[in-house]
Symmetry: C5
Subunit: 281 residues, 5 copies
């Protein structure tokens, strides 16, 4: 049936990672913009649910919607890629250069998509600036300030905390990305992916792409956050922590235990028309 | 198993879009009437849930019922078609004229179905006018006024806001329509479609077909909305925004990244007995 | 996979409808008794849920339990048959006489089953008359009076309202019956059937078989409803409205748009050992 | 796909019933002990959920957990067998003697398992007698007293009421057991079984095996119930009502309408190595 | 379809147990670390849900997330192994020495993973010690003290209680591990596994691996628990109870009733490249 065993799952993820590393800039950018926007949509959905119900857990329960859309449509999410592409590298299926290339453009795409959605949502939520107070606006500002100013205040300790929360976050997010491969059935993929993403969001860990939407949108809405607050105290350390958590605890760990013993080393693909072409998910 | 990969999904959607563009007027009208009514049923269900629980998110959670019925039965929903048919055109599978023809009759069908349900619901909810106050009546009137008078009040800014909310809405609705193709299993289709439709409704974005039921029904119930308020400040700008959002962010975006490289250009079908006949979904 | 496309679905429903019209009286009666009782079970479940949670929507969410059991076991529910059998007739697969025969005995069976459950539930809920007040007893009496006396009070307008609510109801119930055919997988059938039945119950529309349990049970429990109140102001008009809604908006509408163009007209079956025998669902 | 049509379902249940009637005493006892304990686990889960949430319906919603485990693992539950084995007898697949043999040992096994869990739960909930008051202890005592003393107080009427509630209960429980055969897919089985079991528990009907845990555990915890109260006013009449409800309304009723016309009468199996061996479910 | 009958299920579990007993130390350790961490993630998720909603049952409902990830990825959880490996031994598929070897390293891995997550979570929840009071910190400390000091206080009785609660716990957890084999479909596995794990957590039974995270983390956070409190009054007796409950009530019980009569005794595998290699789940 549709369940995919772990050894095969790790193999499939690695090949998809290799394939992703060969996409054209245009493909990565468009797919990255959609992913960034979808996580933005999900974040405002989650905050709507949380503020209405006064229960953060309800917000977390619905947050995975956007993540599931990204994976089902085979789009580019830089945080998910943090485990998938290095895994392909560990298996000799791609080069470090190809990985860096994907990371860069996926990051840019995610950033553009997040800001695009942020701008459209700003228009909708503030009625083009006519409204400056509402539950959802307040929520976005409060959360964004907590994700920047709080760490800044604690100095070096704040840096350790934000990186730790980013590690914990992407351990789960990359697991969610891997879970998309645990079934060849749509309902199985959705259910399995939902779990770790719900888990990370419920506990307020730090996710680079969510923050690409959250912090600049809060800034548009009047949060007291400077550009350097955003990048120095959140975006950069979170990206580093996300990479470390995803690579070490998911990509590397599963590679260590699910290596196919006699797997022949395949060549590193360098062009788009690879035989991997259709393995977007 | 039942999961359909993105490249195939985009192909399937395009062929269904092409097929839809060849339906007879009668077929589009009947299918459009059912779709309009089903979204009306869903809207009153959602408002019943929301007013009883005092939680809009619960209303949004159940709203997709009608959308799912529409897609499972292969009916005509003009907003979903805003992404599917242009995609068929981008692939050279239909003509712009055929698209305009479908859009026109699907719009008319949706409008008739929405008003039909609106009239029947009016009889039921107001007890043929014997009751003028109830939670659900109040909810419908309040929402409908917020969807028209509020934008009118803000003038040009209101126009920007309503179009933005319509773009955001149909980005998700068309994604919902595409998600119906992500699985060949019924449960997979239902689960996948549910997500983006739940997402848009929870956040109060603007959907042309929902409003075809909501605003005229509110008018019957005594809302202070004129015919021109309805069309100038909601129906027309929302339809434009819905088209833009669905076409650009779903149809075009996915076309750009999931083009089959060597796909042979098929001829534009012009009659009903096309080989596409059975691809209603 | 398990999803059944609309054209095939309509074909399958029609053949099942034809098969149902050839069942023996004993089969229809036993299957009808079970269906009537199952809807009774569901109604008291729904009212238990609603009174405990103070939320009608929760009651509606669990109501479809009995409906699902009926469809999965291929039993006879006269309201569902109101769309399925006429569809078979439209396709020339059965005769009007056979339909009337099924409607009559399914109605009788449903009525007997509803009253059987009503009597057993009366013993359980009132402790054989030792208790006359409880939340569930009060709920049943209040609802039943609202479904009869209220319409009577409004005279001719009441008649229009009750028929309208019956039309809206069975539009959805018959859609639920059709949804049982949208998948060849049990989970797909359950999920798809659940939706429209949940939708109708949440909004308090009028369903003939539910009322066959509700009103006489309320009468046993002491509701101020006469036999003629039950039949003149509810059972008869609701049955008429249910037939109209199910036949026109589901059976006929879907027949119009999903006719197989070259389908050969099959003969009307008149005996039980038809080749359709096993198509109970 | 995985949906099993009613005629086949009834055939499968009958063969499983016949197989069950040939199990060794050891097999029935071990399987019966597990079933008894699993329903005990479920009952305390349900009461935990109900007391925490103050909503009995939430307790009922989670109660089927244990029932599902029993059916998925093909264990012996005497109440479920009340419909399955007589059905096998009606089809000439087993003898009345074999049925009585299974009923006896399954009853004993269920009783032992229920009391085993009851004793372990007593240790856990009362901290080996150090605690005598808590929400869950109070709940168990109150419910158990309501299930015995209340009927005793009403005398002959109490006997009619308890038997009626037992009939209603096992009508649904046996339907749940049959629903385990409505799909060859695990998720389909789980979903279908859940429904009728949830339905009976929500309404407080009387189930012999649940009571085998509930009443003696309440007695250990200090409920004012004598051994004869337990057996005369609950265990015996409930067992009788459960048998009647399960046999007549599920086993017999479905046999009447889903008899295979030309089915050849198979011989009654009398030993364990029957070809039915693997049809535990 | 995907449902696996009990006889085959027991066979599959036994072979997986045999395979697990041949894993290298490195594989067991890495897999054990991931499992320990995943249960830690789940525990803090559950406590977040429970403290926000004030309902322990909601926490229990989401707790199985981590357990499902462990089983879907074929990782090593010593408590689950307590039933699976002895079952393999009963069938002569492995040796007691191999089992002890697996138990030892899986225990160590689970402990290391639990403490790793505990340390990272400590940094996140206490902001590196800057915060010492919050709902989640308080919850962890209270629960951990209840799981150690309370038993200590009751002396010998406390020892009986903690072992009883550990037996009840792992009866269900091992059943959850077995349920992962009841389907070859991902959604079937997830649903079936969820049930018994939800059941045990809701009732506060004692699970060795959860406690490996909970107690040392509470100690870091300032709970008044000594190292010997942790091990003497919880970790050691709970491990013993977990072993007994899992082995006797799940492994042995199901072995007794689902032995394949003529199964040929296979040799005990002693190296890693066994033909069982890919049966991680």
């Amino acid at each position: 049936m549709d369940y995919i065993k772990p050894t095969q799952l790790v193999e499939d993820v690695a090949h998809t990672g290799a394939y992703k590393s060969t996409l054209s800039i245009k493909d990565i950018l468009v797919k990255g913009v959609l992913s960034g926007a979808f996580l933005g949509f999900s974040t405002t959905l989650a905050y709507t649910a949380a503020t209405e119900s006064k229960l953060g857990i309800i917000g977390a329960l619905v947050f995975p919607v956007g993540f599931v859309l990204i994976l089902l449509l085979g789009l580019e999410l830089v945080t998910g890629n943090f485990a998938m592409l290095p895994l392909a590298r560990l298996k000799g299926l791609t080069s470090s250069k190809n990985i860096a290339y994907n990371f860069f453009w996926a990051f840019v795409g995610n950033l553009l998509g997040s800001i695009l959605y942020g701008a459209l949502f700003y228009i909708s939520a503030t009625k083009l600036g006519h409204i400056s107070e509402s539950e959802i606006i307040q929520k976005i500002i409060t959360v964004a300030e907590g994700k920047t100013l709080l760490y800044k205040e604690l100095g070096k300790d704040g840096m350790i905390i934000v990186i730790t929360k980013a590690i914990l976050c992407n351990w789960m997010v990359t697991l969610g990305a891997f879970m998309a491969f645990v079934s060849s059935s749509t309902i199985g993929k959705i259910a399995a992916m939902w779990l770790p993403v719900f888990l990370f969001f419920a506990q307020g860990f730090e996710h680079a792409v969510v923050n690409m939407f959250l912090i600049p949108t809060a800034m548009m809405m009047g949060a007291d956050i400077s550009f350097s607050d955003w990048w120095l105290w959140n975006q950069i350390p979170v990206t580093i922590g996300n990479f470390f958590g995803g690579f070490v605890f998911t990509g590397l760990a599963l590679h260590l235990v699910y290596r196919k013993k006699n797997a022949h080393l395949e060549k590193v693909p360098t062009i788009h028309q690879s035989p991997l072409k259709d393995q977007a998910l």
